[in-house]
Symmetry: C2
Subunit: 165 residues, 2 copies
């Protein structure tokens, strides 16, 4: 059993780290100096914390969200891919991950099933992609749900100051 004080809790993140993460989450291009002002610390101290968050794997990366429609990718879909991998293998998953239209590949608790998120131009492109996926050896069948519209789409996580561990 470990004990934590009010500023140093789970995973070694203290309140300042959480403030930094909250600021950067919604605006990855915020300047270091601006973060420093808002958390009330020196820029050098903030920079050191950010570097540490990066090397410790807390910050995984900085991504620019591009409007898919601007690139002609107006159709989003989710597809369950039923595969026949050897036990413990994610071979099919890795093959799926190589396709640029496939943005996410999740191994699910269903029997050897992957849930993938894809973005393509139109239903014709989707058809082509599904045929390509279907032609992968270990893939048995697929079941696709087309997205009509997205009400919310973010990677921002709730950063709480829970006293709970």
């Amino acid at each position: 059993m470990e004990f934590y004080n009010s500023t140093m809790r789970k995973n070694g993140l203290d309140d300042t780290d959480r403030q930094i993460l909250t600021l950067m989450q919604g605006n990855a291009r915020i300047s270091n100096a601006e973060i420093a002002r808002q958390v009330g610390k020196a820029p050098s101290a903030v920079l050191e914390r950010i570097r540490k968050l990066e090397v410790n794997g807390v910050i995984l990366g900085y991504e620019t969200r591009i409007n898919p429609k601007a690139l002609g990718l107006g159709l989003t879909a989710f597809t369950y891919v039923h595969a026949e991998d050897a036990v413990g293998s994610t071979r099919s998953g890795r093959e799926l991950a190589e396709l640029p239209e496939v943005l996410e590949v999740h191994h699910t608790a269903g029997q050897d099933a992957y849930l993938i998120k894809v973005r393509v131009g139109d239903t014709e492109d989707l058809g082509k992609l599904l045929r390509k996926i279907g032609s992968i050896d270990s893939v048995r069948d697929t079941r696709t749900t087309i997205v009509l519209g997205s009400v919310k789409e973010t990677i921002e996580l709730a950063i709480t100051n829970d006293t709970q561990d």
Copy 2:
């Protein structure tokens, strides 16, 4: 029927814009000067383009990807939420979007169904969340798929130089 030349194609994005987007997509904190060097233009010209991409809605934002486990959010799940909204309404969708554990809310082609992506700490949290969702008036039932592991998870889109429109 419109005509485009080799550097000005769909949506008014030329090759330089696509280079900029490609560079920023994988590293939102890249400096303006570094982009300028890589695309072979003056920093001021690059800055002007970025601003234009922002106001034109091509760039939707800059996000920091945080390791969910570092925040105690080790469980990802996808849930189909079957709702009874009035025709054309996304009332349930907007209510779902307000929950911080819910990262994505997609309206699907299924009968009044939403597909949502959620991140929580553990199965107990998931249970709580599903009860909360179930208590929304217009929500009829839910069906959840738990993610065992994610092989790929990105928002990066394929930026091609297709001659095709």
